[in-house]
């Protein structure tokens, strides 16, 4: 029995490793393809059979991508928009989540339900109404218009995520602070936020990624090339008649770098945050 158990366990472990390896390969192959293509001279980009190691590697695509068409400017625009969105969305959604988690007020569950329903409306359906709204608010053609609408778009999910995390924070801690005379703002700022760091990191990564990658809204409202963000700049390498895939991929690798940095910074917190969110969700 004992031997059989061990064999069974080994088999299970082997199976797990095989599945995980397959998963890793599936996840990494496109990434490897992108990186290798970005080093290929323009002509040999799409080869069949696929070659992962370019015969004549070159950094020319990176130089062209970075120097052509104000790419550095677009990069900076994206940084401003993504960081602005992350800060604004985190601050607002954590305050909302705190209110939903700790305060009793009339209409609380209806409001929370509305937030969840708004999450389920496809973004494409809201494109034209949002465009008209942005026009009336004079937010067209401005980076603030991007920040405002990305923030709005992220509030629902973040509030939902943080709400379930906040509920798990023992209320005894807050009661102790109340005894010491702390008001709601102090409790939110001094207690809840520091304790919720993993959940905040998770929300930060999702929000940053969402704002960093967003294409449709940015394309729709920005009409001034000096305000383009990276996804539009990358799409502009795809022409009507031909696409310079080497440039597209080199630009994409450049665009991924900050995301990797953000991920590395928040990663430890991030994993904890996913688990925390999962319990209640």
């Amino acid at each position: 029995m004992v031997v059989g158990d061990r064999n069974q366990r080994r088999a299970l472990m082997a199976l797990r490793l095989i599945l995980l390896t397959a998963g890793v390969v599936v996840m990494l192959l496109p990434f490897a393809y992108m990186v290798s293509t970005s080093f290929k001279p323009n002509a040999m980009v799409l080869e069949i059979p696929v070659k992962f190691f370019p015969q004549h590697p070159t950094v020319a695509n990176y130089v062209t991508a970075w120097t052509s068409n104000r790419f550095a400017r677009y990069f900076l625009n994206s940084v401003v928009v993504a960081i602005g969105t992350t800060l604004a969305a985190l601050l607002l959604s954590s305050m909302m989540a705190y209110a939903f988690a700790r305060f009793r007020f009339p209409g609380r569950s209806i409001l929370f339900g509305l937030i969840l329903i708004a999450l389920m409306v496809p973004t494409m359906m809201m494109l034209i109404p949002q465009f008209l709204l942005a026009r009336d608010l004079h937010l067209l053609n401005s980076l603030w218009g991007l920040v405002a609408f990305y923030t709005g778009g992220n509030l629902g999910f973040n509030t939902f995520l943080l709400h379930s995390f906040f509920q798990d924070i023992p209320s005894e801690l807050e009661e102790a602070m109340v005894v010491d005379g702390a008001g709601p703002w102090t409790r939110y700022w001094r207690l809840i936020l520091p304790l919720a760091r993993p959940a905040l990191a998770t929300a930060a990564i999702f929000t940053f990624l969402g704002a960093w990658d967003e294409f449709t809204w940015a394309l729709t409202i920005i009409n001034d090339p000096s305000k383009y963000t990276l996804p539009i700049a990358i799409a502009l390498f795809q022409g009507q008649h031909s696409t310079s895939w080497g440039l597209v991929f080199a630009a994409s690798v450049i665009a991924i770098a900050p995301v990797l940095v953000i991920f590395a910074i928040f990663q430890r917190q991030f994993v904890a945050g996913i688990a925390a969110g999962a319990v209640k969700a």
């Binding site: 080869e47 026009r135 022409g239 440039l247």
Partner: protein, 410 residues
């Protein structure tokens, strides 16, 4: 005190004059779909716009490049929000749709010199601006598809030149296949791809008044022309990118790697290809002739002015400049074919391949001028692909397509 008054008035007058000149400096916004690394955008931004601004110091041109695949969507959204630019370089197939939405200024009534401008351009491209009694734009550039090939690959295959007829195409495709090369690669089954074959085969998409496709698209000559391509494909003498444009080696890469000998393409191919591979010299010839002759498809862009434009006079000035000999020559160097009748004399001296394009365009035909063209094209794409995939016969596929197109033409 009294003595100083005139000075104050003078200063005020100067200030007002200053304000007036500041206000006179208008900005014209111009949307195009030029890609960032293409040769056209460089010509436009470093040659044409600076030359125009030098001649018109009171006008600034703001060029906004939008990815081609998204320009149509962005135009439609901008229409809804009233946020259109002054000028748009629009694909000729979108002009009827935009005119139908009522967002374009009818240039034939709003521009005093429209007639002389219209007289200076080729009539075919000009006709793509006509919708319900008015001209809503002027042609900016034109193009067509010709047979483009790498002569080195043909030499390797032991062939002395490109196919001139449908019969030569068939026999040469089989001979190339025997040596592991595809003679002809085509990247899709839409109108742009297939219509040259249908027309050269003597068939047509609709009747002459564009009201009916049944009996034309599924007529015997159209069917025979598509059947010829399907037969080539089934004999593995054409690569699979015709049914799956992104699923295989693209035409440019395939031709460079010597795996494809030829394709049909526009003049930009020479500019783009020459930029990437200066050592490979492509050549062009007329599309192989079938029972209907050698008939290609007209492409190109029109320049349209929006009704919303607040700077119509300045926009007109830039539009006029884009149709000038100077600007048309500058764009011709970047592979964009001019629309001026006078270009016939100087165009081949810029690039010799233009001579073949000029010959081909003389008999080329436009795609159906209707706001529904994008949907018609979608029908062609989907239905004709079924014939290549073998799930339907060519006759079935074209009959189905014709029925759907009939409904769209109503």
């Amino acid at each position: 005190m009294r003595n100083r008054r005139p000075f104050i008035w003078l200063a005020l007058a100067a200030l007002l004059a200053g304000l007036a000149t500041a206000q006179a400096n208008t900005t014209v916004t111009f949307w195009t779909a030029y890609s960032s690394d293409g040769p056209e955008v460089k010509q436009l931004e470093t040659v044409i716009i600076p030359a125009f601004e030098k001649a018109h110091p009171d006008i600034t041109v703001k060029h906004v490049a939008i990815p081609y695949n998204d320009l149509h969507q962005k135009l439609v959204t901008a229409v809804a929000g009233g946020q259109l630019p002054d000028l748009v370089r629009s694909d000729i197939i979108w002009v009827p749709e935009l005119a139908n939405l009522g967002v374009l200024a009818p240039l034939d009534t709003s521009m005093s010199d429209f007639k002389s401008l219209a007289d200076s351009v080729f009539p075919g491209p000009l006709a793509t601006n006509y919708w319900k009694g008015h001209y809503y734009g002027l042609p900016l550039d034109t193009n067509t598809r010709i047979w483009v090939y790498d002569p080195a690959t043909l030499t390797k295959l032991g062939m002395s030149g490109p196919p001139k007829t449908f019969d030569e195409l068939k026999s040469m495709a089989a001979a190339a296949k025997a040596k592991g090369v595809y003679l002809y690669a085509e990247g899709g089954t839409g109108g742009w791809n297939i219509l040259p074959w249908i027309w050269s085969g003597g068939g047509s998409l609709t009747n002459d008044t564009y009201t009916k496709a049944s009996g034309y698209l599924d007529g015997p000559k159209s069917v025979a022309a598509v059947q010829m391509l399907v037969d080539l494909y089934k004999a593995d003498e054409m690569p699979n990118i015709i049914v799956n444009p992104n699923g295989g080696l693209g035409t440019y890469d395939g031709i460079f790697q010597g795996k494809y000998a030829s394709t049909l393409d526009g003049p930009w191919m020479f500019a783009i290809f020459g930029g990437a591979h200066p050592d490979t010299k492509l050549e062009g010839s007329l599309i192989p002739a079938g029972p209907g002759g050698s008939i290609s498809v007209v492409g190109g862009e029109d320049i349209v002015m929006t009704q919303q434009s607040k700077n119509k006079a300045a926009a007109e000035a830039f539009l006029r400049f884009l149709l000038s000999d100077e600007a048309q020559r500058a764009m011709a160097q970047a592979g964009q074919m001019p629309v001026l009748k006078s270009a016939d004399s100087w165009l081949p001296s810029i690039h010799d391949y233009y001579a073949t394009y000029l010959k081909q365009i003389a008999t080329a035909r436009p795609r159906t001028p209707t706001p529904k063209w994008p949907q018609i094209d979608q029908v062609l794409n989907t239905e004709i692909a079924k014939a290549f995939q073998g799930s339907e016969t060519v006759q079935q596929a074209l009959t189905n397509a014709a029925h759907q197109i009939d409904a769209l033409l109503q």
